[in-house]
């Protein structure tokens, strides 16, 4: 067990015993990392802050049930991901039609494509335009695929860590992440000239 995990275990035990300063210490230790993940998922400061706040609220209420079967870090990512998916579901129910309306299928969420009427990029597209289009393409992914992409590429999590956080077999994580990357690739086809070497 790493030193960080040992420290977490101690803080959790104390927090479970009613020590609020230990819970505060856990929040301070993880709030920035949690925000980083939430922001990379949403690309929206307010939304990310709400998701993080909701996640720590759920942790506060469920801490007495935490048995240490996974690390706190893994548990946190699971709760953050669920908060993000719940948040997006509420947003979809609130707006009947939006630019990235989605519907559920057996493979997860699918997004209805809307025609892009923006002018074609200039031949001398800048790196900023390329990054912007790439970011838009990631944002347009179905939420679960986006979460997989951000966990692996943004948070540098291993397949095993992702499997533990999402409670799925490693093989399932690998195949779904591969699928997400292929979908992302398809989304970038219309901007292919920006991504040529």
């Amino acid at each position: 067990m790493s030193e960080s995990s040992q420290e977490d275990q101690l803080l959790i035990q104390r927090a479970q015993g009613g020590d609020r300063s230990s819970f505060n210490a856990l929040v301070r230790k993880y709030e920035q990392k949690a925000y980083q993940y939430a922001y990379r998922l949403t690309r929206n400061q307010e939304e990310a802050a709400d998701i993080v706040a909701e996640a720590f609220f759920r942790i506060f209420n469920a801490l007495h049930n935490f048995r240490g079967n996974s690390t706190f870090n893994t548990w946190l990512y699971r709760i953050l991901t669920n908060c993000y998916l719940d948040h997006r579901k509420k947003e979809r129910l609130r707006t009947h039609s939006s630019l990235d309306s989605s519907f559920a299928t057996s493979e997860g969420e699918m997004t209805i494509e809307v025609e892009d009427t923006r002018p074609l990029p200039d031949e001398q597209a800048t790196r900023e335009v390329r990054n912007e289009r790439f970011e838009e393409a990631v944002l347009s992914l179905p939420e679960f695929q986006r979460a997989l992409i951000v966990m692996y590429h943004g948070e540098n999590m291993s397949y095993e860590e992702m499997a533990a956080a999402l409670d799925l077999p490693v093989g399932t994580i690998k195949s779904r992440l591969n699928r997400a990357r292929l979908v992302l690739r398809e989304r970038l086809v219309k901007d292919e000239e920006l991504f040529q070497p």
Partner: protein
């Protein structure tokens, strides 16, 4: 092997984890199918873009801790509120930090007790680093810091004059660096042993210098002189030598070109400063 089946193995092929026999079959399939091969090349480019995601810095909003505390307190209701109020009080924006001011015109202290837009910048490391912003005056830069732990901010200007300030935990701290010279000057700012930074603050006038050889500090000064933006050196060996030719109008592009092959990252921050750090 069908094309569909081949695509299922793209990630494993890219990551080098494909079992040898399957890898041979897939590579043979790619060599015989130009269209699929083009798809895989495009997949590789997508993966390269994705691999940069973890290096993208994310700025933490100043109100994050307060938002978390408020959410938990709301759920607790009024009868439980007092139990957390001490925590929220410590997290909320409070009184100004205790100061020790040096008698110098070169460092102007501004203590904010009002909310500011951004609190901090995190990169790959968990270390809390100060952020640097340009201001409406070219020859000034603002350093901001926010940490749950107390710290002593030490500022050393180009003359070697030292100023020291005591920060308060969970309270935004800021200090304005004022350069009265015509040309860019170096300020060294440190909060903790692991978070020292060097900032080249532009002078009153832009300088024409465009080519040169020198240390990273000299390079930072050259950029600040030419483009009029603060340049931050963070976690680098500032005595390293680089050659530069700043001939364009884009500070970020020119600086990146100058340090290519040096294992350094150049970032243009949202606060209009240039950040040079170890890759």
């Amino acid at each position: 092997m069908t094309a569909e089946k081949a695509r299922e193995h793209f990630s494993a092929l890219y990551e080098g984890t494909l079992e040898q026999g399957l890898r041979s079959v897939l590579e043979r399939k790619l060599s015989m199918d130009a269209s699929l091969q083009a798809e895989y090349k495009a997949f590789q480019r997508t993966m390269q873009m994705l691999d940069q995601m973890k290096d993208e810095p994310v700025e933490i909003p100043i109100y994050l801790s307060d938002r978390i505390a408020t959410r938990i307190e709301q759920a607790q209701g009024p009868r439980r509120g007092t139990l957390l109020s001490g925590w929220i009080g410590r997290l909320a924006l409070g009184a100004a930090a205790t100061l020790v001011l040096a008698a110098t015109a070169r460092t102007i202290l501004v203590n904010n007790s009002a909310p500011v837009a951004q609190a901090g910048l995190i990169g790959v490391s968990a270390v809390v680093s100060p952020t640097v912003e340009s201001t409406s005056s070219r020859n000034q830069a603002m350093v901001r810091y926010f940490d749950a732990r107390p710290a002593v901010c030490t500022v050393k200007d180009a003359e070697g004059t030292l100023s020291r300030y005591q920060t308060t935990p969970n309270t935004p701290f800021s200090v304005k660096l004022d350069n009265p010279n015509q040309e860019a000057s170096i300020f060294e700012v440190q909060f903790r042993a692991d978070s020292g930074i060097i900032i080249a603050v532009p002078g009153q006038k832009l300088q024409v210098s465009s080519t040169g050889t020198g240390t990273l500090k000299n390079f930072a000064l050259a950029i600040a002189d030419r483009y009029g933006i603060p340049v931050v050196l963070s976690r680098v060996d500032d005595s390293r030598t680089v050659n530069w030719n700043l001939s364009g109008t884009d500070a970020h592009a020119d600086a990146t070109r100058a340090v290519s092959g040096e294992n350094l990252t150049v970032t243009l921050t949202s606060k209009d400063t240039l950040l040079i750090s170890d890759r």
